[in-house]
């Protein structure tokens, strides 16, 4: 309990180290300007959500942070070095779990270790630990098709964390799940985050999800995408799902909804 408090306090100190910096990032596809002039600083260990309607360019922005796509102009700096391609201090969780169907759960979790040419034996314990944390330890030897949707996505979160990256990028990871599983996963994710202290960039189009999870929500407007609002969520941690019933939480939800609606009108 004490250590959790320490984390949340550390996050709130304004002097926290900058983990990720986007400076005037712009992306043009042909004649279409997808992203216009986005500048953001994310503190080390901060949980940030990119909230916006579908197709607003938030996934494109996330793909630029993974290094898979390059910005047309502007700069992305992670942990002090410019992002020029995929790197080993980032873990990515996609919308679908994208597990390899021929690999067992544990082998899927260890897949990045193989790709990064790290010694598998040294990460085996960590893999088991992650599976235990996500309550998947009994399924280590199971194939993905034997798992439920929520379990698969939890396995893919383990995979993203296996090489102990400093930053976790999540691209609408819960959007394919049913509402109940989705709430469970949000609570679970916060638990993992508090135990691991990663910087998290979480893309979502769910207002409640963004408000519940984040330290800060960046609201993105549509075409070209810019950040139209920035909301700091000052709710105590650790957060429980019951909080979403309370007025303090709903105040943020209303505010975020208004911001998004405003972007539709303009």
């Amino acid at each position: 309990m004490a250590s959790r408090r320490a984390v949340s306090e550390r996050d709130r100190t304004p002097a926290a180290k900058v983990a990720l910096r986007l400076a005037e990032v712009r992306k043009v596809f042909g004649t279409l300007e997808a992203i216009k002039n986005i500048s953001v600083e994310v503190a080390d260990g901060e949980f940030i959500s990119l909230l916006g309607p579908s197709g607003c360019g938030k996934s494109t922005l996330l793909m630029m942070i993974t290094g898979l796509t390059q910005p047309t102009s502007g700069e992305l700096v992670l942990a002090g070095s410019p992002i020029s391609g995929p790197r080993n201090d980032v873990g990515v969780v996609f919308q679908s779990p994208v597990l390899l169907p021929w690999r067992t759960v544990i082998d899927n979790v260890l897949f990045p270790i193989e790709l990064l040419r790290l010694p598998r034996a040294q990460y085996l314990d960590r893999a088991m630990e992650l599976l235990k944390m996500t309550k998947l330890e009994d399924f280590a030897g199971a194939l993905p098709r034997q798992l439920s949707g929520g379990m698969r996505q939890r396995a893919s979160i383990c995979r993203a964390l296996i090489h102990d990256p400093s930053t976790l990028l999540m691209d609408e990871p819960f959007s394919a799940l049913d509402a109940i599983t989705r709430d469970d996963m949000a609570v679970e994710l916060l638990r993992i985050w508090q135990a691991n202290r990663k910087t998290v960039i979480f893309v979502t189009h769910s207002i409640r999800e963004a408000a519940f999870l984040s330290d800060r929500v960046l609201v993105m407007g549509r075409r070209p995408a810019t950040i139209i609002d920035e909301v700091r969520i000052d709710l105590p941690r650790p957060r429980q799902i019951g909080m979403t019933e309370e007025e303090g939480f709903n105040k943020y939800v209303r505010h975020l909804r208004k911001s998004i609606e405003a972007s539709h009108v303009s």
Binding site: L68, P86, Q95, L100, P101, W102, F111
Partner: protein
């Protein structure tokens, strides 16, 4: 294990029973209607010939079987290599792939006499025809398998710094396995056709030659015996591939619906 055996017996009971019924009807029809043996011998006579002349049948079965397996193996190796080229070389994909697809329309059997002209009446012609016929479905299936990798899986591997080489061995190849086995099942049947047809056209041995020879002698029972033993051999080859497929592609059900309960 026992339950598995039970269901497999249950599943094969119907087709086996029906086969037996049809054979019995055939036997009865031939005997009751006094059909001449040259036209249609009863199954009992076919079995009798197969037993009494098993050495002749086997003598001709081996060369056919040998060429079939060799032609099939070549088509699998060649097909996979060409499929890799199709996947990774734009020139091959854009220039040759459409050609390969269009050439599927040519009835390959019609090329058999041409092969005789080029490669003589020996085993070379049989082997090449078997290879050629079996090669196309193999290539197309394997190419489809290599290329049908989910876009997000590819993306995932690249975010974890996977190289092209790693993505091929760890993703594209296993992804293609079910397709490759699907292709192999088609190819093995086609390889048999290729060998038999070339033996029809020009050969001094093989089951195709024996069928033609027996036809010339109006020995219908021997013809049917040769066809039966060929079918059994073909079924066994197909079965072997199915068994290998179940072991190799343990994570999913076989792709084609032809899967028989062997």
């Amino acid at each position: 294990m026992l339950a598995k055996l039970k269901t497999s017996v249950k599943n094969s009971a119907w087709p086996l029973g029906m086969t037996f019924l049809l054979l019995a009807a055939w036997e009865a029809a031939v005997r009751l209607m006094h059909i001449r043996s040259i036209v249609l011998p009863p199954p009992s006579e076919v079995v009798e010939v197969m037993v009494s002349r098993y050495d002749l049948l086997l003598d001709h079965l081996w060369p056919s079987l040998y060429l079939t397996i060799l032609g099939f193996a070549l088509s699998v190796v060649g097909g996979i290599i060409v499929a890799v080229l199709i996947t990774y070389s734009e020139i091959v994909r854009k220039g040759f792939y459409p050609m390969i697809v269009v050439s599927q329309v040519i009835p390959k059997v019609s090329i058999a006499p041409l092969f005789i002209v080029w490669f003589g009446t020996g085993t070379m012609s049989s082997l090449l025809l078997a290879f050629l016929i079996a090669f196309f479905p193999m290539t197309i299936n394997a190419a489809m398998g290599f290329q049908s990798v989910d876009e997000d899986i590819d993306k995932m591997a690249r975010t974890f710094m996977g190289s092209r080489w790693q993505i091929f061995w760890k993703i594209r190849l296993p992804n293609a396995l079910p397709y490759i086995f699907g292709g192999m099942k088609i190819s093995i049947t086609l390889a048999i056709i290729g060998v038999i047809v070339s033996e029809f056209v020009a050969s001094q041995q093989g089951i195709g030659y024996l069928i033609k020879l027996a036809g010339g002698l109006l020995d219908t029972a021997l013809m049917l015996g040769a066809i039966t033993i060929l079918s059994i051999a073909g079924l066994m080859l197909y079965g072997l591939i199915s068994v290998a497929e179940k072991r190799a592609v343990y994570w999913q059900a076989p792709i084609d619906a032809l899967e028989t309960k062997l």
